[in-house]
């Protein structure tokens, strides 16, 4: 799960990680009020969307006076912000963060996350702050320090020292930084974060260490034990079809500009089915894993969600019946198809337990269902439909 910068900063404050003074605004008037409360100029007006690259896209502005706050808040709220992470369609900005502008001496990079390869918690830090860290890693990997921490032992003083001295900090700045890193470790572990990233982390001209930006992603599997964080979820930032699918516990991801919908059991086979559609010369419109025990209700809702995408010209159903028998599944598909009312061709490839019975049910249904004998046959039939 992703959250907004202003929400990440709320969590930072809760854990004692210093951030600029500021607040979220949902209207221009609110933005002006917050700026007045801050008391000083400049203030920074920042678009709040779940994507990086906001500054380059024109979503972050420095206001030198009240009139500029008004001007920037008006122009950013309601704009469609396009960044390298939003795709060409961009994101509608509905919220702002208004905070004090700070005198920057130096920009650093700091992140902490669980590392899948080593099964440790890893800190990544760099003096090349404010830049795309992927780019830094690719071009100048020596500028990134990594410190690995055994989760059974937890973070120790020497871990913080390694980071602070690696960043060439000394004296009071090193102390402030180490305290901050220790708090971030605690935050990461306690909230089940999958990424805590501060880019940039700044050293101010008056000798403070502050999280100027903030990004936190969370492990979806752990949200059951963080009801407070789960409330940070912003449905405006998600695709409406995906939100709908999540209500039925369907794993659905919409693909831009696809023309062939698909419904599959199992995540690996679902990905492979998307690949097969592409190899056949069509374009997958979605990822949809109905799981190992797909119920009739799930199949029906899956159909409805796939068909709600007007660019879909055909649907491929690819099922390997294991514990879930093909005859039961075929019945589910037929019932769902009748209820939803399908006007486009549907190709079904079924294999596994009770496949013959399943195929017979489909053949006798009287519906526009095309049976494929294997994966290659299914791909060919789907390709023909896409060409029409």
């Amino acid at each position: 799960m992703k959250i907004h910068e202003y929400q990440a900063k709320e969590l930072f404050q809760k854990y004692g990680v210093p951030t600029p003074r500021g607040k979220a605004a949902f209207s221009v008037d609110e933005a002006k009020k917050i700026a007045a409360e801050l008391g000083n100029f400049p203030v920074v007006v920042k678009a709040q969307i779940h994507a990086g690259g906001r500054g380059k896209g024109g979503g972050v502005k420095l206001a030198k006076n009240a009139a500029e706050v008004n001007q920037y808040a008006s122009s950013i709220l309601g704009m469609t912000l396009v960044t390298h992470q939003t795709g060409p369609e961009g994101r509608l900005v509905k919220k702002l963060l208004v905070e004090e502008g700070l005198p920057i001496e130096k920009e650093l990079y700091l992140s902490v996350l669980p590392d899948r390869g080593t099964a440790k918690i890893v800190f990544m830090a760099s003096e090349a702050g404010g830049m795309d860290i992927e780019e830094v890693a690719a071009k100048t990997p020596e500028k990134i320090i990594k410190v690995y921490i055994d989760p059974l032992l937890g973070m120790k003083g020497y871990h913080a020292n390694e980071l602070a001295f690696g960043l060439n900090l000394s004296g009071d700045l090193a102390k402030q930084f180490s305290a901050m890193a220790t708090k971030l470790y605690k935050l990461c572990v306690e909230t089940d974060a999958s990424l805590v990233e501060i880019n940039p982390l700044i050293l101010t001209k008056d000798g403070r260490v502050i999280a100027l930006d903030g990004k936190i992603n969370f492990d979806d599997n752990a949200m059951y034990r963080h009801k407070d964080i789960a409330e940070y979820r912003d449905l405006d930032e998600e695709d409406p079809a995906e939100v709908e699918a999540s209500k039925y516990e369907l794993n659905y991801i919409k693909m831009p500009s696809g023309n062939i919908g698909n419904m599959v059991n199992g995540a690996g086979l679902a990905m492979a089915t998307m690949d097969i559609i592409q190899l056949a010369g069509a374009t997958p419109a979605n990822f949809l894993d109905v799981g190992g025990g797909a119920s009739a209700e799930q199949v029906e809702n899956g159909f409805r969600i796939i068909l709600s995408d007007p660019s879909v010209k055909g649907v491929l159903i690819n099922i390997f019946g294991g514990i879930l028998r093909c005859d039961r599944l075929a019945n589910g598909v037929v019932e769902a198809a009748k209820k939803v009312g399908i006007k486009i061709p549907v190709v079904i490839r079924m294999e596994g337990t009770n496949v013959e019975e399943g195929r017979e049910i489909l053949a006798k249904s009287g519906l526009n269902l095309i049976t494929a004998k294997d994966i290659s046959d299914a791909a060919q039939k789907i390709a023909e439909i896409a060409k029409r």
């Binding site: 669980p114 089940d192 492979a272």
Partner: protein, 299 residues
Amino acid sequence: MSIWVDRNTKLVVQGITGKEGQFHTLTCKAYGTNVVAGVTPGKGGLNVEGIPVFNTVAKAVKETGANAAMVFVPPPFCADAILEDIEAGIPLIVAITEGIPVMDMLKVKNYLKSSKSRLIGPNCPGIITPGQCKIGIQPGHIHSPGPVGIVSRSGTLTYEAVHQIQKYGIGQSTVVGIGGDPVNGTNFIDCLTAFQADPETKAIIMVGEIGGSAEEEAADFIKKNVTKPVVGFIAGLTAPPGRRMGHAGAIISGSSGTAQGKIKAMREAGIAIVENLGHMGDIAKEAFASVIGAKSAKK
């Protein structure tokens, strides 16, 4: 022969009294697996179709001599269940449960390193040595004994691989689903090491997917250590970056974990790559022809 499970495996099932746990325990038993015990705290003394239930794993091991565990415990309590198995000294733990928080698995994984236990999964279909022992949720009847070892991150793709080689009459030595989570117990290299050492395994199929770098590391290992022919497949060529594709571990982060990168590494290691899933059986038959002989490859 086979790896890790066979006729001598004695299984204890954690979560045996739950709906899923009970159903799959009985399917394993029907397949021929020697299920000796179940564990559900508070239900010790009961039995499930003749299988005695104990309150703790330690007690189950003491009473029955169980040497493998299958875990069907819900995600909030699953890491604890695995830790209980490790402390009870169970050599092989198979965790089927999907949805364990990563932070929990980090602790399990690091604790495992100081133990003698092997963990398969979590979020996996299990392990099967056809004709001898099935631990997991796989449809047992699609398998048959034979010379091919299979290792995969995905459940249904494993069944697909089995099905496609079965069409040519090629059976399996052992099939291992290592699971779709970012932090898991047994990895590709562990399985490849065991398959390479197993005299009955003549060839290997490796099924990977996007996310992480386990396939790249496995490719490097194969290049240096595996002399048996390997066929490989990677799912997720069309997956968009930054999205979790069903499995918690199936995500492209920035430029790492892409299918293209994995396929390139595997190709360079001499693995016969299956580009189109529909051709897996054909490619395996051809790549394995020299080692499995005409006898096992019918048709």
